[in-house]
Subunit: 235 residues, 2 copies
Amino acid sequence: MVKSVSLREAWAGEADCRNCALRTAALFGGLTEADFDQIHDPIDQYDVKPGTALYKTGDVGDYMYTVRSGSIKLVQYLPDGSQRIVRIVRSTDVLGLEALLDEGYQHDAVALQRAEVCRFPTRVVRNLSRDNPRLHHELLTRWQRALNEADAWLTELSTGSARQRVARLLLRLVRDRETSECELFSREDMGAMLGITTETASRTIAGFKRESLLVESRQNSFLLDIPNLRRIAED
Amino acid sequence: MVKSVSLREAWAGEADCRNCALRTAALFGGLTEADFDQIHDPIDQYDVKPGTALYKTGDVGDYMYTVRSGSIKLVQYLPDGSQRIVRIVRSTDVLGLEALLDEGYQHDAVALQRAEVCRFPTRVVRNLSRDNPRLHHELLTRWQRALNEADAWLTELSTGSARQRVARLLLRLVRDRETSECELFSREDMGAMLGITTETASRTIAGFKRESLLVESRQNSFLLDIPNLRRIAED
DNA sequence: CGAGGCGTTGAATGGCCTCAACGATGGTGG
DNA sequence: CCACCATCGTTGAGGCCATTCAACGCCTCG
């Protein structure tokens, strides 16, 4: 069903953290020049296509990732084989925090859209955070952010009617964005996020289009009628 | 609907951490005698009745809690006022980690059953964890555990039919327990945990009783037919 | 050109929700 | 002590919404 593409073919060179455009927002934002000198391991940048898995559940957590662009889904499986997407991770977010605890990864991490990520050895973070309070605090903050996301995913996206859930998902996609334009996910992924079937996701999205709550601006890019979607989301 | 009882009347004395029966499993398990000497603030123990709130969403996080016995629910609210229970916290678990980051609490924390908790100032943990790698690692581990719980709550308890969800909840209640005996929650709470109505929760539990998957051993204490519940949970 | 993936739509079923009623229980006050 | 009330679990009836199973058009790609 989901094609699994190797990361190998996605390598896009070594990253230049010091001059990273996202640096202020990234995990390494608080590092000094001296800190960077301590990083002897290469930090690689990858260009991943939709469907590519960065890692799988249970894999040894030698690496952590920062997302530069695009979206990555975190997927868990039920005993019966059905999948549930428990979170999506986007620009400036960190993937694989659990690796710091020497646990295997807790999810499959799979690209939803074309995405750029930076990969760095877990060991680097572990070493740096020992002596760097700011990085260390940054890690705690991100752990908490993941937890808040997980809770919101439950209260907002797994509660209420299908219409409400889809509306909340759409609104979530454009939060903290300058425009109300966004790319949609496949109906199958939407279903796995919202705990509904792909058919219901499809019907609901199609309905929103007919009601002009959703207007296609470019190929698979939609403008949202935020006020009306918000009305649907809340009652 | 839910009575809110003040913590004040629940005070049960100062805790004696050094001789705590739960110490090896508790947050402070790795502390030395010297560490304890640094704690100048009192650590209080409370005996809370069902319905009592330890804290509410947005409250200033001056304190953290360890649960000694019983269960505490973490509750979030939707804009329309309906509530969703996003996690339950039980013996040896820590409540209020988010307080370490100077955020307000992210949930209402309310006792489900009669419970005993220890309360300690967030400041104490913040100070001790600065110089104590073991405590510090313990904190990270607990953060990750909360995250795993949150994810499991979504995949196991918010996915599938009502029958499956209730079965999974019951099994979860006796996991890592010596016996298969457990107390049930009110049908309203079950509904809020599983994203179903109280009536559906009631009907499902009543059905389980009729099928002898659930046998009352004492007043509101039930023995589970684990193999058959597991069968229901998985298909 | 055929195959396969994806989004869409239809029809029918069924599971859950809604609204309502009722019994049991436990606490309160006369 | 007992009538009274509130709460909680249970059950019924009816309706709606999501699922299920199926078919079809469109697109990409081999």
